[in-house]
Symmetry: C2
Subunit: 340 residues, 2 copies
């Protein structure tokens, strides 16, 4: 057994490629080498998420840039191989931010870096998706910014993704009409048939701003009251144009602009004319809200009232290609890499 790691080899200029990553191999850290307070974890799953694209860039954003030649940051779920901390024992299922690697030595003296999870009713991988950061992101944007009210209409982009599919389900459970936007007929079918959205718009089938707006208006005949934005660009413009007075927009991602191309908002005047609220957020800034979110998400997943879907790549070496696919929307649901 070797210890595999993927490091950031270079920063992308424009669209990232597999050349920006490098696989490094070495011996697995020995249990005997652990210091007091350290835990050796074998990762079973690595989470791939759009925010990682931002970290690959240099320059100011909400997160520090990923250092070059360091292991790519990332959420992980695994099992404890050896422990020198009383709170963790061999065999414990744990989630943390172990990064793009097969194993990690974690100093667990800092609170929250490693969390034990119960896999009796919830599969380990779900703690990286529906019952993890993406699920909490959906919950937070919905409950803290969008202020859902029964009978109102919510629009969400990247609706077949880990975040988007959960936004819609949580809003629907609150009595909202839920409309998704996704790329392609297969994703849209998944969104309506599996995730039980009221409607889903295939943005690839509506390539002009006017066509997209018309599709949104047709799917939201009473207008859009809330928009959960994962993509920015044309979908944001269409959502704003279809919005009712006092509409709310939670900005969670703007994947359309991650490669640095200009991406203006067409009609900011609508913010005034319709008294809109637009707010950006990141899930890690409100750790105080995670327990309430995880409680609702975990209960829903365990009972089967919240659905999720996973796309799983096999082996760490497949991570870069899977990540680039995620950025291009090739995955359905949560993109994972299975390491064991």
């Amino acid at each position: 057994m070797t210890h595999q790691q993927i490091v950031l080899a270079s920063r992308p200029s424009g669209e990232p490629t597999v050349e920006n990553f490098r696989l490094v191999e070495g011996p697995v850290p020995a249990a005997s080498s652990l210091a007091d307070g350290q835990v050796l974890v074998q990762h079973h799953f690595l989470s791939l998420d759009p925010y990682m694209r931002g970290r690959m860039n240099d320059g100011r954003s909400y997160a520090q840039p990923q250092p070059l030649d360091a292991v790519m940051i990332g959420g992980t779920a695994g099992v404890v191989l050896a422990s020198r901390h009383p709170a963790f024992a061999e065999g414990d299922a744990v989630v943390g931010m172990g990064g793009w690697q097969t194993h990690a030595v974690v100093d667990v003296s800092a609170p929250g870096v490693l969390r034990k999870v119960d896999t009796s009713a919830i599969p380990l991988s779900a703690y990286l998706g529906a019952v993890g950061m993406p699920g909490v992101t959906a919950w937070m944007g919905l409950t803290q910014i969008l202020e859902p009210q029964a009978g109102q209409t919510l629009l969400v982009s990247a609706a077949s993704g880990a975040v988007g599919s959960m936004v819609g389900q949580l809003a629907r459970q609150r009595g909202c009409r839920v409309v998704g936007v996704a790329g392609g007929a297969a994703k849209c079918a998944h969104v309506t048939d599996v995730m039980q959205f009221d409607a889903c718009i295939d943005y690839k089938a509506h390539a002009t701003p006017a066509a997209l707006l018309q599709a949104v208006q047709a799917a939201a005949p009473l207008g859009v009251d809330m928009y959960f934005d994962n993509v920015g660009g044309a979908v944001l413009d269409a959502a704003m144009a279809a919005m009712n007075d006092h509409g709310r927009i939670a900005v969670c991602g703007m994947i359309a602009g991650y490669n640095g191309e200009p991406m203006p908002m067409a009609h900011p005047m609508l913010i005034l004319q319709r008294r809109l609220k637009i707010q950006g957020f990141i899930v890690s800034e409100r750790m105080d809200l995670w327990p309430a979110a995880l409680k609702e998400l975990g209960t829903g997943v365990a009972r089967g009232t919240l659905k999720y879907h996973e796309t799983v790549a096999q082996g760490l070496a497949a991570a870069p290609e899977a990540f680039l696919g995620l950025l291009k929307g090739r995955n359905l649901g949560k993109q994972l890499v299975k390491l064991v």
Copy 2:
């Protein structure tokens, strides 16, 4: 004495002109013609405000379009000439929405259409500015959206105007550093010298986006935490680019786009990257907040701790030209028309 009225003769296509207005004359309504519950008011002052530009357009906005051939809507301050309502007596000073005309017959049975004001410590005209709608607008955007905190920096555009000058003063009284943006050296001098802002940027002297941003950054060395937007366009873009994480933007006006020219927001990605909140509002939707606002504004004006400035045009016939001047920023402070 004649009854003069100005009606909307035609809708502007692009920039409005005096041709869009028409002066109509007739006899002053007779006191004997009043029905029960009606009051005859002689207007002493007419308020001119940027929102009127939006009403001149057809199409969806936050207000109904101004009907053609009807008296232009507008705030007025005047004196009761005759009353058939027990709450009003001849000689009472009153403010209302009497429109662009010298006299109005007001049915005061609907609450709030006419309000008696005390002119012992506050001049009548101030009830159309600092202690009226513009003052409440400033107060509302500041307290309800911008959440001012001592030590933070507030930027406000149209800083020499009725709203902008009050925003800055109210923020400064809350311990904020206050930076204005205005057009021309004379206005900037007024903003810093009379209104006591910490700094003011002459946008006309910084004609490129890069120069404007540099000026904002120089005037706000710790970054911008709050932006009160009266203009949209390039100033909004610069404010966003200079903003700190968790910055707040209250959108009160976007005068740069009122004539229908495209006015995109350059970098909406900043909403995500810096977790900004952007919110549009109009003052008439929160009538519940007016008493608290008017209390602070009235106290400050009466004590002289809140300053204001007026630009006064003479006679109703001068109103269209004065209004067009307001849209072009030719006024300093509150633009009024004196009718008596």
